[in-house]
Symmetry: C2
Subunit: 307 residues, 2 copies
């Protein structure tokens, strides 16, 4: 029997969350620089970008100026901007800024949900339904955090994920993203959740335990075709101890390029955007591909390397 | 159709290379401390340990005292110690130190092989055959570096890997380990090499581009059951720019535990060994599981985490 790779989808959609999820825990960066980053991502071929969060600038200073960001970014057909909103008021602001998609977050962990949006899970589903009504034709994606385990309550049953997803869709959400907020996902948990929800979900993965890429690969083999990633691997949750960065966009694109799975994104352009984001945050990025370069980049033979 | 994980082997053999490959690029650590590390690994259930390298202490100061290490480590049935040797003289020293296995390295990259052992590939195969003769009943494992690409020559054809493996086995090597020295492996390259060589090879993976765990998972799904890993994710090659650490033992064991694949190794014991190795090298380890703990470790709820 010849060993073979699993059958994989021909192409996937990557939603770049670096300008929002990636920069949110960082020292605030100016609107101008955030727009420069979005432009660099667009040049690399990224077509779906989480660009801003309409949250209190007092609570999240790094996300101040959301309307200014959305007013300044380049617009063209096929380029879709997402904004995160915590409540109906945020959704109204996002809609008046001409967003193409709204993301809302809700957690399978009661403790995490309280910390993140100061509501119970039930209150959150009600608020999300109001947001969906206000959004009208604008799609609302619900990001379900702690979908593969909670740092507070431990294991989460896959059926709970599927039930909450169904409730959110009944309330008007157009799509569901399952987030591994604290790196508790494994290939087996991915399979169990996809089994319960179907492969129509998106995956939002973190590198807390170094499992984001293998979980993406496992999800891909199960038919998942939508992924959230962050350029340079930036990101993390302020509400979960030890949470590390998001799956790096360039890490996923490098693997998918090699597997022949289309992303529409140019790896070299992405690495240029990673250099920019590194300049903006002023420290080395967690992304290994950003540090080492693509696998096709050969070493220069210098005599000094020998000993 | 219900999505399902690939069928995986019931158990795998992990060869811990931390005391040799992991510590080799570090500031030298005493024989006593290296023996302490090996004891901690043994307590965790590790049964195959690359414990020493019989190389010139002038060229590789961190590996000085190989015979002393092997004289001091605990011995019992089922516990197997491996030593790396660069040539026949090293093999003779290793054999007189009562090793259970010898590893030799040879590269598919002419340039890398010259840098690593100052021989051509042909000269290396001849020296390895002499080592196998001298070893008699002691098994000799050939670690083929740059098996998934070379930082100097670029792509390596899977057939070349299989041909070199066959030549080495004809020369007396008892097993073959394919090493991804500079992180050029991908799930597809793993599949191509396993297709050419058969799943009897071992995989020795590096995190240079963050792909070690996904490549191990891909290899596992193709029937590979032997892996080299390094506690804490230490390691790297001095002859390849940008080479990063080995696949962390605790990262692989954590994933395999969750997948129900037996390793015989206790994750908590391994994390204790990682704490020791971190103390010995005096800096944070690259391993995410060593830093974040197992996925079952819950967060303490502290009011200070809220904002």
């Amino acid at each position: 029997m010849t060993p073979a790779l699993p059958v994989l989808p021909g192409g996937v959609t990557i939603r770049e969350v670096g300008p929002r999820d990636g920069l949110q825990p960082e020292t605030p960066i100016s609107v101008t620089d955030r727009v420069r980053l979005i432009e660099a991502l667009m040049v690399a071929g990224v077509r779906r970008i989480e660009a801003a969060a309409f949250v209190s600038p007092k609570a999240v200073p790094a996300m101040a100026g959301a309307a200014e960001v959305l007013a300044a970014v380049p617009r063209h057909a096929g380029l879709r901007y997402t904004a995160l909103v915590p409540n109906l008021r945020g959704a109204e602001l996002a809609l008046s800024s001409d967003v193409d998609e709204i993301t809302v977050t809700i957690s399978l962990s009661e403790a995490y949900n309280q910390r993140n949006v100061r509501m119970s899970i039930t209150e959150s589903t009600q608020e999300i339904a109001r947001i969906c009504s206000a959004a009208g034709p604008t799609p609302v994606d619900a990001v379900v955090s702690c979908a593969f385990g909670s740092p507070y309550e431990g294991e989460v049953a896959p059926d709970e994920v599927a039930e909450l997803a169904a409730r959110l869709q009944a309330g008007g959400c157009t799509s569901i993203t399952c987030a591994d907020t604290t790196g508790m996902a494994t290939p087996r948990r991915i399979a169990e959740v996809v089994d319960a929800t179907g492969p129509g979900i998106a995956l939002h993965l973190h590198e807390t335990r170094g499992t984001a890429l293998v979980c993406a690969y496992a999800g891909l083999a199960l038919g998942v075709t939508r992924f959230d990633t962050s350029v340079g691997g930036l990101g993390g949750s302020p509400f979960a101890a030890g949470a590390a960065g998001n799956l790096a966009t360039e890490g996923l694109v490098a693997m998918l390029d090699d597997l022949g799975v289309e992303t529409g994104i140019d790896l070299d352009g992405l690495l240029a955007a990673a250099v920019l984001v590194q300049d903006l945050v002023g420290r080395p990025l967690p992304s290994p591909v950003a540090a080492a370069g693509p696998r096709t980049r050969l070493a220069e033979t210098r005599s000094g390397e020998e000993r």
